[in-house]
């Protein structure tokens, strides 16, 4: 039966896009989690709601306006946070609420909630077309290459910002690079699980992998495995059971996390 499902082109596109997004969220999310920036993804996603509303209002493809609004608001809020010594959680709250409020106003001006808005809020991976799939794959490859090039300075400034700065790394530029990458990742991933659930994909597989992993490389690989498995199993289950794919994907990653916590508390997991 599974093989029959895999012959459908929309399922193939969903799985390919989903796996690409899962890989992206794993690697970018790992740095966010370790920097205690777990909710930053959520804040970017909510600010993208404003961007989507702008797109729908002016008749431009909403994902493009979401990229512009999310990226610029994430960079501006980071600049404000640094200049006025605002705490990370407060800056997240500002970013999150400003995106939602702008979005709500623009949506009310444009005539209220439509099916389009709901698909961005809750994701619609089974509806991605070939063009979206190609864009998702290209963005994933580009971001993974950027992360690979700047892997050492990103990791060092995540581990110990002061030491990294003293070793000659321009920590400020690296922080802006990571914020920009996170912005692109979040908006790209909206199509998979939607604005409301995106932070779970950035956080849960990484938290689970950290419970297992001893070395950084192994932890990242494990997170990628958990993330991609959740996405593939989630898409297939949701189709078979005729339920929402975004919720199923996130629920599977939560189940893996809960099982890990149980095994860990029983002493059955050795970090490797």
């Amino acid at each position: 039966m599974v093989f029959d499902i895999l012959t459908y082109s929309f399922i193939q596109r969903a799985i390919v896009s989903g796996v690409a997004i899962a890989l992206l969220c794993s690697i970018v999310g790992m740095f966010l989690v370790l920097r205690r920036y777990s909710l930053f993804g959520d804040a970017i996603a909510h600010s993208s709601f404003g961007g989507i509303a702008v797109g729908l209002l002016i008749g431009v493809y909403p994902i493009w306006t979401a990229y512009i609004i999310s990226l610029s608001s994430a960079i501006i809020i980071t600049k404000i946070k640094k200049s006025f010594s605002i705490s990370g959680e407060s800056s997240v709250a500002i970013l999150l609420s400003s995106g939602i409020s702008i979005g709500l106003i623009l949506i009310s001006i444009s005539g209220g909630f439509t099916i389009d808005i709901f698909s961005f809020l809750f994701g619609s991976i089974l509806l991605v077309n070939a063009e979206d799939t190609i864009i998702i794959i290209l963005l994933t490859i580009t971001i993974l290459i950027v992360v690979l090039i700047f892997y050492r300075p990103i990791l060092y400034s995540t581990f110990n910002e002061e030491q990294a700065q003293i070793s000659g790394i321009n920590v400020e530029k690296i922080n802006y690079l990571l914020i920009s990458i996170s912005g692109i990742t979040v908006v790209t991933s909206i199509q998979l699980v939607g604005i409301l659930l995106i932070s779970s994909l950035l956080v849960i597989p990484n938290i689970t992998a950290i419970l297992y992993g001893k070395s950084f490389k192994k932890t990242v690989l494990l997170s990628m495995t958990i993330s991609t498995s959740s996405v593939v199993i989630g898409i297939l289950f949701s189709y078979v059971l005729d339920i929402t794919s975004s919720g199923t994907i996130v629920l599977i990653s939560i189940i893996i996390f809960v099982v890990t916590v149980c095994l860990k508390s029983l002493g059955l997991i050795n970090q490797s």
């Binding site: 581990f159 110990n160 002061e162 030491q163 990294a164 003293i166 070793s167 790394i169 950084f216 192994k218």
Partner: protein, 240 residues
């Protein structure tokens, strides 16, 4: 050859003067011990030297070049923080910490680990180690880049006596292998034993010179003790 030259260094935080008219040099192969009570400005001095504090008056030169003109000098410095801040749950092994930010061979990493006697801990998660072991990891990290100068800011804070002794013995070996070292410490005995030069700091520098000249001079030692005690009382009053 002068590795470090500091001239007329003044640092203020708002209206409060943290460092006043600091002048000293560090020659190649020197082991300079910087002593002073809490709040004397030792960490501020290091922060200026490492380019973390940019707002100051005066000149700091490393290898003959003003540090405000280029950051290249940092490549030749190994720095060990007082208490390196990192998440204890960070999934990273000792080996990964040492190679982080660098492009170095496996042999070099192993050499650095052997030098600080923790080769067997290479594949352990850093959060699992004791404070003393973690501090040795950071020394190995500082050494793996082949620094010309090693700067250590009260590196034995919170470390047990045995690890401290081991640590000082390692520093002595490094100095003998021609590495220039600057160590800030409260431990006068250790500075007396290890350093060939001493700088006494308490916001201002009231002695800088050969170690023996300081430790054999009762008047200077008394002046240092009184100054430290006054600072201690002042810190206590300020709730520090």
């Amino acid at each position: 050859m002068k590795i470090v030259e500091i001239k007329k260094l003044n640092v203020k935080y708002g209206k409060s003067v943290v460092l006043k008219n600091i002048n000293f040099d560090v020659e190649e192969n020197d082991f300079l011990g910087i002593i002073g009570p809490n709040g004397a400005g030792k960490t501020t001095l290091f922060s200026c030297m490492l380019g973390m504090i940019k707002q100051y008056e005066g000149t700091i030169k490393f290898f003959g070049n003003n540090i405000q003109k280029s950051k290249k000098y940092l490549k030749n410095i190994g720095y060990v923080q007082q208490k390196p801040s990192f998440d204890k749950n960070f999934p990273i092994t000792v080996k990964e910490v040492i190679e982080m930010g660098l492009n170095c061979s496996e042999d070099k990493i192993n050499d650095a680990l052997n030098q600080v006697l923790i080769h067997e801990l290479a594949n352990k998660r850093i959060g699992e180690l004791s404070t003393g072991q973690q501090q040795r990891v950071f020394i190995a990290k500082a050494l793996v880049g082949n620094p010309k100068i090693l700067i250590l800011d009260e590196p034995v804070t919170g470390i047990d006596t045995h690890s401290t002794e081991l640590f000082y013995s390692m520093l002595n070996k490094m100095h003998l292998s021609k590495i220039t070292i600057i160590l800030s410490s409260h431990d006068l005995n250790a500075v007396n034993m290890l350093a060939n030069k001493v700088a006494c700091l308490n916001r201002t520098l009231f002695f800088h010179g050969v170690s023996k000249d300081f430790f054999n001079n009762d008047t200077l030692l008394k002046k240092y003790s009184e100054s430290s005690m006054q600072k201690h009382i002042q810190n206590h009053k300020n709730g520090l």
